[in-house]
Symmetry: C2
Subunit: 343 residues, 2 copies
DNA sequence: GAAAAAATGTAGAACGATATACGTATAACA
DNA sequence: TGTTATACGTATATCGTTCTACATTTTTTC
């Protein structure tokens, strides 16, 4: 209300205490929902806090206790899937004192570590790493210092941090099964060059298993490319103009699938009759008619919600690891359903 | 290096001082690049800091000085344009001590204010608000408390904060001029319901001026919708099936344009022959062949870079306002260039 | 009704930096 | 040479909370 508050000045816990006629410690207790305050005192203090428009200073709280801030590490801002996750996170945080602050790693291990360090420097109470490229060892090191939850990192044996995932192997198998059922045979997979990502490993494994089970083992074909758009484009073009042109491509994420659709269109290929394309994540772009992209829904919102819940539990003291797994489902759209059944 | 560091323990400035054989104050000076340290002492202290892997605790610094953290407020995570801006911001911050932390407002004034408050609570040194829905008065209030720079908020008279913008009016005029030159007449604009956004006002103004100058005043037609995808879809459908179907639609942002393309395709309309579509922001999705979307490039990276630069200047003490404006340019793609010249 | 237990509140030392105020060398000037 | 600047360092109060230890009051138990 007091708009004229000058930069630098702030209502402190001391002023609240004076106004309420109690000790500073009492106000602090109310603030932290700590033990040892009567209802009367609590109401009294709350009234003063409200009257003075008091807001605790996170930096000061951080010196001894918590900052009620959790750090979220995202690989990049361009993949709309992360927005789905964040929706879930924010839903989970809504009725709590906690706030999320996001940092972007650009899928680089060094920047990621840098961000994590700076989040620790800023006394974040815990961290949520999404699609991290760190290996188990590094995550363990982080987890030893701060409560940690990882989304998109398969490690059911991890004991120091929690994980939240969809069943990537199953998701990939769903894709292959669907494509095979629609008559596609030469099903290729478009993956990412990055030996360490456990979700990639799982998806590739699922693809292989799916192909084997469908009797298409000899058609197994995994192309890998970096995330850089130009390289993706090049790899896609190479794949589609090569001698063994696949009749279906399973892309490890929607964004790549959109790029593949683009290249295919430029080459004059008809989707889905000349080529089927399937993505992963079921982001909002799949629904656009110009994409009509079949994709795997891993309900990012659920992932975010559960991860935030687990992280707060951990901050509050839980020490045993929990590993949450969502069952993926396929959302079929025209990009993989040819008009006539195929030969 | 010391991986065994236990949660809660940290190397402090005191230990560095002891190791280097100097006072705590000296170390602090080195840390802040403050006046009064010899090269020898600086080198000595730096060596100790490095040896002990010392990292200053932002919370503690924040109690008296700066936290070297700037808060970025984004309306939403789904618009890839913001990723372009963030690239620029991060480039500007790269060689500095500053780090960016992002908060998401979901285009709601209350959440936005909540985020700003919580950023102030967390002692951010300054704030960068992108596409804010706040009015001048509210921004002034914030600017009185913390250094502030706004991207996407036209207010050349503002004295308490800086602004960074592209020339939205000019951008919109470019669109109309281009469409008119390609033979389109019934050019509609797809805007956002939100009286307060100054960039919307400018773009609408540019659209109107462009139409008048092209002698198309009687075809002026602005449709507004919320950002919710379903509503956008409905409005687009209504616009395209109504009695006065436009032959071109200028959408206030790429994301809307993609949705319009989707609806048009579902209705069996040919783009660009039955309908031209133009977006704004020139995000990566414009380039996909299935979209081939003509758009206005306002070089988000530049905007982000300049904004971060201005913010740091402000944090360091500049008091007079600066207002940076980028000249937009149109990037023409097939979505607005019909094969044959139109009647 | 005394002793024990539980509830409620307070005082004051941390937390890890910054920054002011002040000494002491060293350099510059007359 | 003495005086004055200037450069370099240090001691320590301070920022706004949390939290431990303790004092006091109230409730429970036997």
């Amino acid at each position: 209300m007091s708009e004229k508050r000058v930069r630098g000045s702030r209502v402190t816990i001391r002023e609240v205490a004076k106004d309420a006629g109690v000790s500073v410690a009492a106000v602090s207790k109310v603030l932290r929902d700590a033990y040892g305050v009567s209802d009367a005192l609590r109401a009294n203090v709350r009234a003063s806090m409200h009257k003075l428009d008091y807001r605790p200073l996170a930096a000061a709280r951080g010196m001894r206790g918590q900052t009620y801030t959790i750090g979220i590490v995202l690989p990049d801002l361009r993949n709309p899937f992360f927005a789905d996750i964040m929706d879930g996170v924010n839903t989970a945080l809504e009725r709590t004192q906690y706030r999320a602050m996001i940092g972007i790693s650009h899928s680089s291990v060094e920047t990621e570590m840098g961000i994590v360090e700076s989040m620790i420097d800023r006394q974040m109470d815990g961290m949520l790493m999404i699609g991290s490229t760190e290996d188990r060892r590094n995550l363990d090191i982080i987890a030893k210092r701060k409560p940690l939850v990882a989304i998109g990192h398969h490690d059911p044996e991890a004991t120091t941090f929690d994980t939240v995932n969809n069943h990537d192997q199953q998701g990939a198998m769903l894709v292959v099964k669907h494509l095979a059922a629609n008559g596609y045979r030469k099903i290729a997979m478009f993956s990412l060059v990055s030996g360490t990502s456990t979700i990639l490993i799982q998806r590739e494994l699922g693809y292989r298993r799916g192909m084997m089970e469908a009797g298409l083992g000899k058609h197994i074909n995994i192309t890998s490319s970096s995330q850089i758009l130009r390289e993706v484009q090049l790899s896609a073009r190479r794949l589609l103009t090569g001698p063994q042109r696949p009749d279906a491509i399973f892309c490890w994420t929607d964004l790549i699938a959109l790029e593949v659709i683009s290249v295919a269109r430029e080459l004059g290929l008809d989707i889905p009759n000349d080529l089927a394309v399937v993505g992963y994540d079921n982001t909002m772009f799949c629904d656009f008619a110009q994409n009509s992209l079949t994709s795997i829904d891993q309900s990012g919102e659920q992932l975010g919600l559960q991860a935030a819940r687990l992280l707060i539990e951990r901050i509050k003291g839980r020490a045993e690891a929990e590993h949450f797994v969502v069952t993926p489902r396929i959302v079929v759209r025209p990009s993989s359903t040819p008009s006539a059944a195929r030969a």
